[in-house]
């Protein structure tokens, strides 16, 4: 019979237990601390799933600016890539490039905005050149208009007129999506 030190002698299962085994451990303690990575992996997986669910393949269509506070809308459709006309309290820009002063547009009664019309015509010309041999993507005259919620219709009207004059008759008013329901109206068909 083997000679053993006196004292408590645990069973095999208890001796191997992480919780109770330490009580009966003899000799030096190891300096290696094991990290519990399982919970970290769980957390990462949940994060990835959440981010993939919220992922938008369309990307950012509009140039968000601090000067422009968009109104809310419930029945909006997803925005498509198109030239963006932004109207802030200070300036009217096309794809980030200033084309007119808002003050100037809010004063006179003349509807024309020549700079904007020229810039839009240039956009149309470029589109036509690029898609000259592409009958599947005809020019649809789509333009996105984003304006600060306090901007008067007098200014918006002139921008719309300029878009119309340049061949961009299908206008998308940008708005913040608010509790978009599933019966949201589809975008009107565009020719």
């Amino acid at each position: 019979m083997a000679i053993v030190n006196p004292g408590k002698r645990p069973g095999d299962r208890i001796a191997k237990s992480k919780v109770f085994g330490k009580k009966f451990a003899r000799g030096k303690k190891g300096g290696y601390a094991e990290l519990m990575l399982t919970s970290l992996v769980d957390m990462f997986t949940i994060l990835v799933i959440f981010l993939i669910q919220n992922y938008s393949a369309n990307g950012e269509v509009l140039y968000m600016s601090k000067d422009i506070k968009l109104p809310f809308a419930v029945h909006g459709a997803q925005l498509e890539r198109a030239p963006v006309v932004s109207i802030s309290a200070d300036a009217v820009t096309l794809d980030g490039k200033q084309v007119a002063q808002t003050d100037d547009l809010s004063k006179g009664d003349v509807l024309n905005v020549p700079e904007l019309e020229d810039a839009l015509r240039e956009q149309k010309r470029i589109y036509d050149q690029i898609h000259a041999n592409d009958p599947e993507h005809p020019f649809r005259g789509l333009v996105n208009v984003q304006a600060d919620k306090k901007i008067q219709f007098k200014v918006v009207k002139k921008v719309m007129f300029a878009c119309n004059q340049s061949g961009f008759g299908n206008i998308n008013f940008a708005a913040m999506a608010k509790g978009a329901d599933k019966t949201a109206a589809p975008a009107a068909p565009v020719n």
């Binding site: 970290l40 981010l51 925005l79 901007i151 008067q152 008759g169 998308n172 008013f173 708005a175 020719n191």
Partner: protein
């Protein structure tokens, strides 16, 4: 390292552990890259578009189907729904925070009634005054789209 399996007990000689430890480090690397990419490319602002036709623009096919002339006027007094010459006024209401505002709820009800009496009607013309704010214009267009009036045309009032 993670992994768990029952320990083999009994038998002769040394026990062979059935535990197989998974190497989680490359998996964590992959997840970290995914999270970084998704965070950088995420779009946090949900923006939608309300498609309208500008008056004088290219004629839509839906306009041809328009049977009754429906107009929604936005004036400083409120909404005015004009259906085939008959006008329904929806005056502004007092709001505690914003002061006098357009009565969106009543407009929704009136448009619902209109849609129930004219189910095939898809076209409507929104005509705001010059002083009407973009917010109110978007609200009116949103109300029309909500009642399945998809062919919205925006035209100046005067």
């Amino acid at each position: 390292m993670a992994g768990a399996a029952p320990q083999e007990t009994g038998g002769k000689g040394k026990k062979k552990a059935l535990d197989a430890s998974l190497n989680l480090v490359p998996f964590i690397d992959l997840l970290s890259c995914c999270i970084s990419f998704l965070l950088i490319s995420a779009v946090w602002t949900q923006i939608s578009g309300l498609q309208v036709a500008s008056s004088g623009g290219p004629p839509d096919e839906q306009k041809k189907e328009q049977t009754i002339d429906v107009k929604l006027l936005l004036t400083d007094k409120g909404y005015s729904l004009n259906v085939a010459g008959t006008s329904i006024d929806i005056p502004k209401i007092q709001d505690k925070e914003a002061g006098m505002t357009f009565d969106r709820k009543t407009l929704d009800d009136k448009l619902k009634t209109l849609k129930s009496t004219l189910p095939d009607q898809q076209a409507i013309t929104v005509q705001p005054e010059d002083a009407v704010a973009y917010d109110d214009l978007v609200n009116a267009v949103d109300a029309c789209l909500g009642e399945q009036l998809h062919a919205v045309t925006v035209a100046p009032l005067n």
